[in-house]
Symmetry: C2
Subunit: 434 residues, 2 copies
C-alpha cells in the first residue's frame, strides 16, 4: 500500500470506509484490554514467588551484623541489602540508602526535602519565588506530577536517541539559577527506551549550573531491564563520572526492585555522594525509625547476590521480549509503508514510544478506548499532559497476554490508520476549499 | 528509713557515703543495659513468627476483591486490611488509609502535607510567618522532632492523669490562629501511661479553634496495648465524638502494628473524616503508586480478624506485665519512703514516667550511664529536650530481660537516691552558709 500522504482524496475516503468497517467488527468484540501502564504480567510476578519461601517461622531473622531485623533500627538499611542494591546500581554500598517499597516515594521525598529544608544549607525552595526544572520530553508522567505538586515550572527539553539536548541543557542551567534540577531516565528511558550515550553522561557530569543547589534526578528505573542478553546498552556510571569531573554532589540516583520482584512490595534505594548522603540522613531521621528490614532480608536471601538477580532478569526478559517483538512486528506490518507514524525499538525497559502525525494522538487513544483498549492518555509524556504536537503515545506491552496484546496492537494500528487518514483528508478538503 | 528532706546534713553525708560504696560495686560489674527506647523484646517478636508462614510460594496472593497484591495499585490499601485496622482503631474501614511500615512516617507526611500544600484549601503553612503547635508534656520526643524539622514553635501544655490541661488548650486555640495543631497520645500516653478521660475527649471534640486549619494529631499508638485483661482503659472514639459535636474534620488519627507484629515491618494507618481523607488522597497519589500490599495481606491472614489480634495482644501483655510490675516494685521498695521521686503505674503502653526532685534528672541519667545503664536522655520528653524542672525521666521496661531489668532498675533507684541526697545536702549547705 502507498503512503497515505500520496493518496488522492477519493482513495483516502475509500480507505476510511474500509477501516471503519473493520473498526466496527472490533467494537462488536467488546474488548477489555489495557496497554496503559508499565506493569509486569502474572508470569513475571510468578518468577519471584520463591521469595515467599526464603523466610519462615524457623528462620533466623538476624542480618549479618547480628541485628534482629524484626525490631527497630538501621535507618539506612541492612548492610547486605546495601551491597546487593549497590551492585545493582553500580555504586559503593556506603553510598546507598535503602528505603521502603517505592522509588517514586524516594524521589518525591527528595524533592520535598529540597523544598522544605534546602540542599546542603541552601535556601529551602519553598522560600524562593520561582523554582524551575528541566524535563526531557517525552518523559515519565509521575516525575512531572511531582513538579505539579510543588508548583515547579517545567521546561521541556527534547530527547534524541542519545539522550536529551545537552547543548540546550548546558546553556539553560548555566544562565538561570532558578533552574534547580532535571529529571533523567538514563537507560531504556520512559517512554522511548533510549539510553544516554557516553558523551551525554560525560556532559551531564560536567554541567556548570548557576544554582549551587541544582541536582540531577537520575531515575535509573530500568538499569537491569535488558530485553536481549547479547545486545545490551551500557551506561557510564554517573556518580563515578561526577566524582572524576570534580562535581561529586551533582546527582541523586534512584532505583528499586519494583519491576524485579513485586511492584509495591520491593525495596527502593538512593545512591549519592557522602555530602548529599548526610543531607538525606539528617532529614530521614525525622521521618522514620527505619524501613522494612525483614523485606530487605527477604530480597537478599532470595537473590543471594547480583549474579542471582541478573539470572532472574534474564527470565523476565524471556517473558516480555516476545511481547515487544510482537508489537513491533504488527506496527511494522500495518504501518511501515504508510508514513503515518514512527516508533522506537528499545533493547530494554518497559515501553515503546509511538509518534503519530501531528494532531492525531488524542484522537487515536480515544478511538482505541471506545473499542475497549486502554492506552496511556495522549499527552501524559509531556508536562501538564500537554503535548504541543499531539503526537506522542506510550505503549506498554508487558502486562497483557500475548493473545490480548496482539488484538490490542492490531486495534491500535487500525486506529492510527483511521485517524491519520481522516486527518489527511480533512487537510486536503480544507486546502481544496481555500 | 525517713524522707531525705527530714535528714540532717550529717545523716545525708553518711547516706551519700554508703550509696557511693554500692555504686562503686555496680560500676565494677561493667553492665551494658538499655532502658532507653520502647522496643519489644525478643519473646514478643517471637509471637509473630507465624506471620512468616502464612504466605508461601503456593499461596494465592490475591485479596478479596481479586486484585493481585503482588502488582501495582490500591493506593489506600486492600479492603481486608482496612477492615482489620478499622476494627483495631474503632473506625469505619472507609475512613482508613493503610500506609507503609511506620506511623511516624505517616505523621511526618501529614505535617509535611499541611506545610507544603495546606489543609483543605487553606494557605500552606510554609507560606505563613509563624506556625505553632501545642505539645502536652511530658510527651513523645519524635513528635517534637517533627516540629523542629519544620521550624514550628512548640507550646508546652501540662499533662495530668486525665489528659492535658483542657482549659489552657481551649483558651489558646480559640485566641491564636497561628496555633495549627496539637500532639496527643490519648491512651497509655508516652511516657506517663495516662489515658484521656471521657470529659477530656469530649472537650477535644468541641474545641473551637481560631485557625480553620487546626488539626488534632491523635497518635493512638497504644490503643491495643493493655497490660491487664481485666483492668483496661477505654477511650471515647474521637472521630465519632467529633462528628457528634459537629466538628467532623478536626482530627487526624494514627496507629500501626509496629508493637503488635514487628517494629519496622508492620503496617501503619490513618483514620480521618471523608473531607480530610480526600485531602490526604490528593497528595498521596503524587507520593506513591501504593504501599506494600503483600505485607497487608500477610497481616490479615496472620490475625484473621480483630479477635485474633486481641488474643495476640494478651500474649504480649503476659510477657511485659511482669516487667512493669518489677520496675514498680523496685521503685516502691527503694524510694517510697524517701520522698525523692514519683512515678506512674500505667495499665498499658510502653513506658513508666519518673519525676525526680527538680534539678536532678540529668544527673541521675548521667550517673546511670556511667555505670552502664542507658536511659532515655533526661529532657527528651520536652520540646527541644528542655525540661524546665529537669525532673522527668522516661523508663522503658519492655526490651531488657527480667534479670537485666532488675539490675538496671536497682541501679537507677540507687542513682536517684545518690543524686537526690547530694542535691538536698548542697541546698542545706548553701542555706547554712547564707
Amino acid at each position: 500500500m502507498k503512503p497515505y500522504a500520496e493518496m488522492t482524496a477519493d482513495e483516502l475516503r475509500e480507505e476510511i470506509t474500509s477501516l471503519k468497517q473493520v473498526y466496527k467488527q472490533y467494537k462488536a468484540l467488546d474488548l477489555h484490554l489495557d496497554m496503559s501502564r508499565g506493569k509486569p504480567c502474572t508470569e513475571q510476578l510468578d518468577l519471584s514467588m520463591g521469595m515467599m519461601d526464603v523466610l519462615d517461622s524457623s528462620s533466623d531473622l538476624s542480618c549479618e551484623d547480628g541485628t534482629d531485623c524484626r525490631n527497630y533500627g538501621h535507618l539506612t538499611g541492612i548492610d547486605e541489602a546495601r551491597v546487593l542494591l549497590g551492585d545493582m546500581m553500580e555504586n559503593n554500598p556506603n553510598d546507598i540508602i535503602i528505603y521502603g517499597n517505592s522509588s517514586l516515594n524516594v524521589m518525591f521525598d527528595a524533592v520535598n526535602r529540597c523544598y522544605t529544608s534546602g540542599v546542603l544549607g541552601n535556601t529551602p525552595w519553598c522560600k524562593l519565588d520561582k523554582v524551575k526544572f528541566l524535563c526531557p520530553v517525552p518523559g515519565y508522567d509521575r516525575h512531572f506530577a511531582i513538579m505539579e505538586y510543588f508548583g515547579v515550572e517545567m521546561i521541556p527539553v527534547p530527547m534524541s536517541p542519545i539522550g536529551p539536548d545537552m547543548e540546550m541543557i548546558e546553556k539553560l542551567v548555566s544562565e538561570d539559577d532558578a533552574i534547580k534540577g532535571i529529571w533523567c531516565v538514563p537507560k531504556y528511558s520512559n517512554p522511548q527506551g533510549y539510553s544516554y550515550s557516553d558523551e551525554t553522561v560525560r556532559r551531564f557530569a560536567r554541567l556548570k549550573p548557576a544554582a549551587k543547589d541544582f541536582r540531577i534526578f537520575w531515575d535509573n528505573a530500568y538499569g537491569m531491564h535488558h530485553l536481549y542478553d547479547d545486545h545490551q546498552d551500557y551506561l557510564i556510571e554517573i556518580l563515578a563520572e561526577c566524582k572524576r569531573a570534580g562535581n561529586p554532589d551533582l546527582v541523586y540516583k534512584f532505583s528499586s526492585t519494583s519491576k524485579i520482584t513485586f511492584p509495591g512490595s520491593g525495596i527502593a534505594a538512593l545512591a549519592t555522594s557522602p555530602n548529599n548522603m548526610e543531607d538525606f540522613k539528617r532529614a530521614l531521621k525525622y521521618q522514620t525509625i527505619g524501613h522494612d528490614k525483614v523485606n530487605q532480608l527477604r530480597h537478599v536471601r532470595f537473590f543471594g547476590d547480583i549474579h542471582g538477580m541478573v539470572e532472574h532478569m534474564r527470565k523476565h526478559a524471556d517473558i516480555i521480549r516476545p511481547k515487544f517483538e510482537l508489537v513491533e512486528s504488527i506496527l511494522e506490518e500495518q504501518l511501515s509503508e504508510l508514513n503515518i507514524g514512527t516508533w522506537t525499538k528499545p533493547l530494554g525497559g518497559y515501553f515503546i514510544s509511538f509518534d503519530s502525525l501531528p494532531g492525531c494522538a488524542k484522537a487515536i487513544v480515544a478511538r482505541a478506548k471506545k473499542a475497549g483498549v486502554i492506552m496511556t492518555p495522549a499527552g501524559a509524556t509531556w508536562p501538564h499532559g500537554l503535548d504541543p504536537q499531539d503526537s506522542n503515545i506510550r505503549i506498554a506491552p508487558t502486562y497483557p497476554t500475548i493473545e490480548d496484546l496482539k488484538e490490542a496492537t492490531e486495534l491500535f494500528a487500525l486506529c492510527v490508520k483511521l485517524e491519520s487518514a481522516k486527518k489527511l483528508l480533512a487537510e486536503m478538503e480544507v486546502s481544496e476549499s481555500n
